[in-house]
Amino acid sequence: MNVSRNYLMSRAFAALFLLLALAGNSPAAMDYDQLFRQSGDLMAQGDLEGALKLLRQVPLPAAGEEAAPFVSSRMQAARIHAAQEAPDKAIAACQEVLKLYPDNSEARNFVAALQAQLKPRWHTILSDIVRFLPALAKGTIMTLLLVFCTILVSPLGGLLLALGRISTLRPISALCWFITWFFRGTPLLLQLFFIYYGLPSLGITLAPLTAAVIGLGLNYSAYLGEIIRGAIQSIDHGQMEAAKAIGMSYGQAMRRVIIPQTYKRLMPPVGNEFIALIKDTALVSTIAMVELMRAADQLFNTYFNITALGLAAAIYLLLTTIFTFIFEKIEYRAGIYEHR
């Protein structure tokens, strides 16, 4: 609560003098006059509690009695409470006034101002965001690096696995089947652990980034391989025959005729995989890499502040949304020849 204490004090005194001038020469006014003066003195000495006690002594006005002393005392109390950073008590004091005089604009405005002060968790959240963003941005860059490396590696790996599996050479198709079976059939987390923590015992020590890209690359190659194989096999067999009939080799037919026709069909499932990939990179945080998830986790543990996690969620959502959008565009482009 950053309401300036001095400002409130000066407001309090101003109100006090105004009151004294108005209260003039009524018989009861003498008591109140003294009471307000005493409370003003106490405030000046810094004894806010004492001042409050005095102000509380002003009773509810009896029928026909003047409202001004009561209203002034409660509003003064409200200001002191606000200065003490106790907005709820300040509001309660205002509400005593509003109960009797619902139209009292001073009380009403003060309540509104206090409630506005109560709200601004905004401020804290905003300043937290500003505080956390640099670390999360660094994590995001690492996450994106992992995503891009995997996107570069896995379609190639997937294509090789797909071509291997449909090959008529038994050893090759068996090997590719095995690789696919293994990497789709075990958890990515386990694969990462094996590559980063397990391989050193076989004399192979890898940097975290290398281990992460190898793990993600193999895992995603296995998934994409099955998707690509499905897409290749879904192309009408007549296409391969027509290509062969003009003298193309198997490789030429694949490269020029079959594979280009799979692009459109590939885009939706591959887009799905890559969105899953953005989130799967979070698993890499377990092998000593500080990417987005790990960065958020570190902030959360340091500040015990949930904003860090919320912010990380927002960044993941932003990335996945951008990817979805890009893939829809590519899918449309890839299938443009089907438009009549």
């Binding site: 296409q239 025959e241 027509a242 062969k244 009939a245 003298g247 193309m248 009549r340």
Partner: protein, 258 residues
């Protein structure tokens, strides 16, 4: 020169089996250069399998194929028959054009791209040359104005004419047509037959499988009636169609078509 008298294509005792089913049963066939041969016969009689065996889309079980007097497609290693090297097979296929019932145009390439593809990728011609060949072929089939559209926008007849241009772009010595009009609406059949006629007039050697007897009668030097993997009868069209009066099976087949 003896090469001149050599038939362009000579099949000896070709047999193709699918498991227990014999689709082509020891067939002998000679096709002279410039000859127009029409094969007719009921569905499932082995006509497609025979055509596909000629350009090695099917691996035959027995027999030999000679093209320009040279045995092609198979080699014997350790007493066993094998398909020849992929390179040799591609070379043979490049000399034999094939047109399919369902066109099988490459949907991701423009019409021009489809026709250029053979010269460009298989013959490795420079782009300019491939394009000029393709442009000529499209003009020949009357589709110059469709060069830059994708096949999806064409009618069935136009698609088949593009498929013919695509085959012709390889400058084949023999053209195989497997029911080129069977997938077309009746009003589109004519334009495809006209295109084939033009080729015939230019002296192209061709084997055509079709159910259109009128077309066969007009175009064919020779008609073969095939059934159950065998040639039941063959001869000049007028011979075969009149001889058919004496052959119950051919008569039945022809009557059903009319």
């Amino acid at each position: 020169m003896s090469i001149v008298r050599e038939p362009l294509l000579k099949l000896e005792k070709i047999t193709k089996r699918f498991k227990s089913l014999t689709a082509v049963n020891g067939v002998n066939l000679e096709v002279a250069s410039g000859e127009k041969l029409v094969i007719i016969g009921p569905s499932g009689s082995g006509k497609s399998t025979l055509l596909r065996s000629i350009n090695l889309l099917e691996e035959i079980d027995e027999g030999t194929i000679r093209f320009e007097g040279v045995e092609v497609g198979y080699v014997t290693r350790h007493g066993k028959r094998h398909l020849d090297r992929p390179q040799a097979i591609s070379t043979l296929r490049a000399e034999i054009g094939m047109v399919f019932q369902h066109f099988h145009l490459f949907p991701h390439m423009t019409v021009l791209g489809n026709v250029m593809e053979g010269p460009l990728t298989v013959q490795r011609k420079p782009t300019d040359e491939a394009r000029s060949i393709a442009t000529d072929m499209l003009a020949k089939v009357g589709l110059s104005d469709k060069s830059n559209v994708f096949p999806a926008t064409l009618s069935g007849g136009q698609k088949q004419r593009v498929a013919i241009a695509r085959a012709l772009a390889m400058r084949p010595k023999l053209m195989l047509f497997d029911e080129p009009t069977s997938a077309l609406d009746p009003e589109l059949v004519g334009e495809v037959f006209d295109t084939i006629h033009t080729l015939a007039d230019e002296g192209m050697t061709m084997i055509i499988v079709t159910h259109h007897m009128g077309f066969a009668r007009e175009l064919a030097d020779r008609v073969i009636f095939m059934e159950s993997g065998n040639f039941l009868a063959q001869g000049r069209p007028e011979e075969l169609f009149s001889a058919a009066q004496g052959n119950e099976r051919i008569k039945l087949f022809l009557n059903r078509l009319l």
